[in-house]
């Protein structure tokens, strides 16, 4: 169906965002000798193998010991290394929250927490692995930067950018093969939202895999004469409040879309910004207080109300509330 739509961004290839991380990480290894890697028995899944092979002295397999890995990473910063930890998003956050909180965030350590298999789209492994609360946990931590790129190219760009940023970062990406619709040579500025499409009826703020669903939704809505301003929020914290407020001042309403719980996600952050500065109707696309389940990624996005059709509905609702 999306093929016949006149989307403003198109793709010729699909790839997993975790490969964007892996390829960016290898490039970083060549550029910056202080970059080191750690992984908890998921080198293949995190695509860290090429870095390990080329820089064995700067890479540490720690086995299945995520809490230990976070502590090691914190320690490695003392003396100037820039550690990148790799495991699934669930085991990068909930599993090790206090370790991150005390040894990394509170202690202001320059650790890059790189988290794959976030959200529903990891698919068949099911709810034990499908973390939908990680953005909330991480954005609540003082000092933490939270980044959720949307495709292979943006994930690669983000991976390169976070090495130059001083301070703890949570970088969230995923497992499924996903359209590559952003440019390969894009600049990536942490904390700077990217207006992908100009519009006047509604501001659509999307992050991660759902940016593609938002691109599709924009085309569907355009066919119905609705003008959508689409803004790619790759950095959830610090949030680009100026961009959000400028857009909503023009359109008068907002929709947020994310592969995360509504509680604690991007939607919350946008709502807080609006309510403080310019209260406006807002609708939320995300998981509504439930765990996920096993299934195929696209089917799960449909069942849990996270696809383009749901964004279209949310947009219409937001506009009707103006």
């Amino acid at each position: 169906m999306e093929k016949t739509l006149d989307t403003k961004y198109t793709y010729t290839e699909k790839k997993d965002t975790r490969s964007g991380f892996g390829d960016g990480f290898l490039e970083l290894g060549r550029k910056n000798k202080n970059v080191v890697g750690l992984c908890a028995d998921l080198i293949g899944s995190l695509k860290m193998g090429a870095f390990q092979k080329e820089f064995p002295d700067r890479f540490f397999q720690v086995g299945i010991s995520e809490a230990n890995m976070m502590g090691l990473a914190a320690g490695m910063t003392i003396g100037g290394k820039i550690p990148f930890t790799g495991t699934f998003a669930n085991f990068s956050t909930g599993r090790v929250y206090d370790q991150i909180r005390q040894s990394i965030a509170y202690s202001e350590k320059n650790v890059k927490i790189c988290a794959s298999h976030a959200g529903l789209t990891l698919g068949e492994d099911g709810a034990t692995h499908q973390i939908l609360e990680d953005v909330g946990m991480m954005k609540m931590l003082p000092n933490m930067t939270v980044i959720n790129p949307c495709d292979y190219n943006q994930t690669k760009a983000a991976t390169l950018a976070i090495a130059d940023h001083e301070g703890p970062v949570y970088l969230r990406f995923g497992r499924p093969s996903w359209p590559i619709f952003t440019p390969a040579d894009q600049p990536f500025e942490i904390g700077k939202a990217w207006k992908m499409i100009d519009g006047k009826d509604v501001s659509l703020f999307a992050t991660g895999h759902l940016v593609w669903e938002a691109v599709v939704a924009e085309a569907m809505l355009r066919e119905e004469g609705i003008s959508v301003e689409l803004i790619n929020i790759h950095t959830i914290k610090p949030l680009d409040t100026a961009a959000i407020l400028a857009s909503v001042a023009k359109t008068g309403c907002a929709v947020t879309a994310e592969e995360h719980q509504l509680n604690g996600g991007l939607g919350d952050s946008v709502a807080q910004t609006l309510i403080r500065n310019n209260p406006a109707p807002q609708e939320f696309v995300g998981v509504d207080d439930s765990f996920g389940e096993s299934g195929k990624p696209v089917d799960l996005l449909e069942k849990y109300g996270l696809n383009a059709e749901n964004i279209v509905k949310a947009v219409k609702k937001a506009i009707a509330r103006k």
Binding site: L42, I64, S65, G126, T128, S294, G295, K296
Partner: protein, 283 residues
Amino acid sequence: MEKHSTEQLQAICSQVRRDILRMVHACQSGHPGASLGCTEFFVALYFDQMKHNKNFNIDGIGEDLFFLSNGHISPVWYSVLSRSGYFDTKELATFRKINSRLQGHPATEEGLPGIRVASGSLGQGLSVAIGAALTKKMNGDKQTVYALMGDGEQQEGQIWEAAMCAPHHKVDNLIASIDLNGQQIDGPTKEIMNLLDLKAKWEAFGWEVIVTENGNDITNVLQSLEKAKSLLGKGKPVLNLLHTDMGFGVDFMVGTHKWHGVAPNDEQLEKALGQLEETLGDY
């Protein structure tokens, strides 16, 4: 429950292995390796050792309880549960598919009979098993609690918190086993994070440790589970070092981490099934 002969138990194992392979093949995901390796252990528990009721009740009062800490080997557990009557074997066809009770990792949310707690995130199951064993003691319930962990899973810190706790609280109604297949996701455990002498470690933590030399020989598995039982009630928990081969039963899958979490394709499935007799009828 009527007693099964060794031959009958072996026949069940063959069918369980077919189920495992067909399940992971049908959804093209899941973990065949250690599921195949632990087949004898599960069949020994559910078809011989455990006192359990297929009319499932979560509290399991007066029953033996089983907890799977390495939840990714759900295929073997689901097959054995259904083959021992907890639910229709036809339901195995829904494994890992949307709207199924057979989640990728065991879960309670969908109400699959036989499952008492979710697992999948490694390292947590032994603590839960110790808690359930303590409740049995508080309830005056004389039955036994069983748990299974992976060997890679031994790298998690929580395992050792639990290891310290059970002897301290004299949890002597617990038999925990470790699937010593020497493999984990990224490679052999020796190369990923060497476990060194697990027997000495668990003994040092205060456990009674027994070794099952060949966890893929049903007779050997039964012998050591009997021995484990005989050690209960003496103030110490029992730890069974269960030596298995990952992928046991299929010649091209055996002994390598490569089949930890990869599904066979059509051709590989056919080849694998050719090595395993259909004894109870495929689902």
